[in-house]
């Protein structure tokens, strides 16, 4: 096991360098840079060149990449934001926390609902309940996250206009009077603001995971060893949950690794529409401002998360599935 893990870890290193270099090149391909916005300055015609030189943006692309890489590796220093002159790490960590605060409960809820529904649908294949759930999940797959979020906001605003208060808020993380609330009140207030985005994020991946679970469960239930178990006269319960579910759940474990970065992206549109100050809104505004170091820091974090996530889910799979050799 240990040599396998080490081999996998060593394999990650070239991928990391290549992925960050690729990201750097793509960001650099965009026309102009951060300094371009100072091009038209009647007071100081040299402003653009001066700012570009002072930020080191006049260096060749590869040189800048190597400088950046050296700082990241030796000092864990991701540079500073060109727009806010803030340390990128300080800028990103709270955003990351906000994103996770939305994602973790949403993900847990999704799995708690999706897995039982998937199992139910598979065990009662083509029943009325299964058909209804299948139609619903097809609908769920066809609605883009951001549109679902938009509909939520629209209903919420409509309710506010008619009644003068919010049923569930759909903008931001806290109320305006947040700082005046007691600690308990603050906790309840942030929980209240979490409801709407959490529901949308959970709904958006619910359909997908339900379908995977149902399909995988059906696949396993069609296997010969299940028929053998039935022929032996084992209890249906024991067949379903001991023989079938244990194998069907493997796929869910395999998808877990890529989940977090995928979810950060998937929830990103919801964050944008519902003004949740997570990573994606920061990424978007940095794209528009060409804030290289913020972009690179977010991309690097996500790349590392994805690589480690995939590794962990492979390891988990190897641990629980004795058929996998490494």
């Amino acid at each position: 096991m240990i040599p396998y893990i080490l081999r996998r870890l060593v394999n990650l290193i070239p991928t990391f360098f290549l992925a960050t270099l690729l990201a750097w090149i793509v960001i650099d391909l965009a026309p102009g840079d951060f300094a371009s916005q100072f091009a038209i300055n009647p007071l100081d015609p040299n402003a653009e060149a001066r700012i570009r030189a002072s930020l080191g943006l006049d260096q060749p692309m590869l040189v800048r990449y190597l400088y950046w890489l050296r700082n990241v590796i030796t000092d864990f220093d991701f540079g500073f934001s060109l727009t806010s002159r803030n340390n990128v790490t300080n800028l990103i960590l709270p955003r990351m926390e906000n994103s996770l605060r939305l994602l973790l409960p949403a993900t847990i809820i999704t799995y708690l609902i999706a897995i039982p529904i998937g199992i139910y649908s598979a065990l009662n294949k083509y029943s009325f309940g299964d058909r209804v759930l299948t139609v619903l999940s097809l609908f769920g797959l066809a609605i883009p996250n951001f549109f679902l979020a938009l509909i939520f906001v629209a209903f919420s605003v409509q309710f506010f206009q008619q009644n003068g208060f919010f049923l569930i808020p759909t903008g931001g993380m806290t109320s305006q009077n947040y700082s005046q609330l007691s600690p308990g009140g603050q906790f309840l207030d942030s929980l209240w603001h979490l409801i709407a985005p959490m529901i949308v994020v959970a709904l958006s991946s619910l359909a997908f995971i339900t379908r995977i679970m149902r399909g995988e469960m059906l696949e396993v239930l069609g296997q010969d060893y299940i028929r053998t178990a039935r022929a032996k006269g084992l209890a249906r319960r024991s067949i379903n949950y001991k023989h079938a579910l244990r194998n069907a759940i493997l796929v869910i474990v395999a998808t877990l690794g890529g989940l977090l970065p995928g979810l950060i992206g998937g929830a990103g549109t919801v964050e944008y529409v519902m003004r949740w100050p997570g990573l994606t809104p920061l990424f978007l505004s940095s794209v528009f401002a060409q804030d290289v170091y913020v972009l690179m820091a977010i991309l690097t974090i996500l790349v590392v998360l994805l690589m480690i996530g995939n590794l962990l889910s492979d390891l988990a799979l190897a641990l629980i599935d004795p058929r996998i050799r490494y």
Partner: protein
């Protein structure tokens, strides 16, 4: 039934004469399987209608693509009426009038009941700006049409207001006074075609590089697969945003932006195809027919083209039909964020960004019609998914009935 030859089961076919064993081509089997899927067939019809509407958008929409009327922003839909004082008459509508409420400072729209305006079918709009290129001609890129010196000539519209002074908005107007119904049709051109073209490009790149990697192995394989791995290590949405940032500030012509969006979508899609195709080619390479072809002196290119790629056909068809809907959503996300299609062109995602800009001001009730493009994304994605399910069952031997 004593002297019958055993019949090889051939995809649900029922040979009239049991002694004649007919082999069926892949397409015949697939079509027979596909026809058993009622939802897939319904979806095919719905998609056909959507694509026809997009193709003939100039004719079906009452106004040209870039028509705006700053005097009629957010006008509610004009209701088409058939009954006038209990009598059935030809379709007409009441003009909408806006009035400013000086207490609440809200504009309210009322119907002018005294002046009914009849709807005109096969109406002509003769103005220079109203002329358009009818369907097959409008597929020619705008630049090419200009160099050829072509001028739009068609003036016929399916329906429209009979009074040029009174606007008719079937599904209301947007923030610029554009016709939402027409914009949905024109936007459908981009939203519906971007997915198909991007999927074709992604499959082409995936087949090319996956085929090369799998067939030649060695350092070619190493280089290509390392690149694919690095590309897939960056989460899709963020890669998309970064890629789009390359072109969105450039003020490029609409057709160029369209092609760039296609390329960006294909960039995130081809890696997965390459990986699967490589795996398939790796196993096909060792099969007897590949050795036979090689020993008969076939060139590498011929072996790849004639013996490897046809085996990936089923995968490619199924992959495309399930990727197109996801690309439709991705395009709408990009345009929604202002990183995809740029105005004055329009797409469903871009239209929804209007809804995003105004949703904080107004609830669903006041301006519900600006959310309609979302309904069309939903229908297009749903029907493509159902069609894809049908195709998968048709081409996947394991799920044949």
């Amino acid at each position: 039934m004593a002297d019958t030859v055993p019949v090889v089961p051939s995809g649900g076919a029922e040979p009239t004469d049991a002694r004649v064993v007919r082999s069926e081509s892949l397409s015949t089997i697939a079509w027979k399987q596909f026809r058993k899927h009622p939802m897939a067939r319904v979806s095919l019809t719905v998609l056909g209608v959507l694509y026809l509407l997009a193709a003939f958008a100039d004719f079906v929409a009452p106004y040209p693509e870039r028509y705006i009327d700053p005097g009629a922003t957010f006008q509610p839909p004009n209701r088409v009426r058939f009954w006038d004082e209990g009598r059935f008459v030809r379709p007409f509508f009441y003009p909408r009038e806006q009035a400013l409420d000086f207490e609440t400072l809200e504009t309210t729209w009322t119907e002018d009941r005294d002046n009914p305006v009849p709807l005109q079918f096969f109406a002509r709009r003769e103005g220079v700006r109203d002329r358009y290129f009818p369907f097959p001609v409008n597929l020619i890129p705008a630049q090419l049409r200009q160099t050829l010196g072509m001028r739009p000539w068609a003036t016929l519209h399916l329906f429209g207001s009979s009074d040029p002074e009174v606007p008719f908005y079937l599904w209301g107007s947007d923030d610029l006074g554009g016709d939402v119904f027409g914009k949905i049709l024109f936007g459908g051109r981009i939203s519906l075609s971007v997915g198909i073209i991007a999927a074709v490009v992604a499959v082409f790149l995936g087949l090319l590089f996956g085929g090369l990697a799998g067939y030649f192995g060695g350092w070619v394989d190493e280089v290509i697969m390392r690149f694919v791995e690095a590309l897939s290590a960056i989460p899709d949405l963020f890669l998309l945003f970064t890629l789009s940032a390359i072109f969105y500030p450039l003020n490029l012509p609409a057709s160029t932006v369209f092609m760039l969006v296609v390329v960006v979508l294909a960039m995130i899609g081809w890696g997965g195809v390459a990986r699967t195709v490589r795996g398939q080619v790796l196993s096909l390479r060792e099969r007897d027919f590949a050795y036979a072809a090689r020993s008969l002196g076939a060139s590498n290119a011929r072996i790849i083209r004639r013996h490897m790629l046809p085996h990936t056909l089923s995968f490619v068809i199924v992959y495309m039909s399930l990727t197109i809907p996801s690309f439709i959503i991705t395009e709408s996300v990009l345009s929604f964020f202002g990183l995809g299609i740029q105005p004055p062109s329009t797409s469903w995602g871009l239209m929804l960004s209007t809804a995003q800009n105004f949703v904080g001001v107004t609830g669903l009730g006041d301006r519900w019609w600006i959310f309609l493009p979302g309904l069309f994304i939903f229908i297009a994605v749903l029907t493509w998914n159902l069609l894809g399910d049908g195709l998968r069952d048709a081409f996947d031997p394991r799920s044949r009935q």
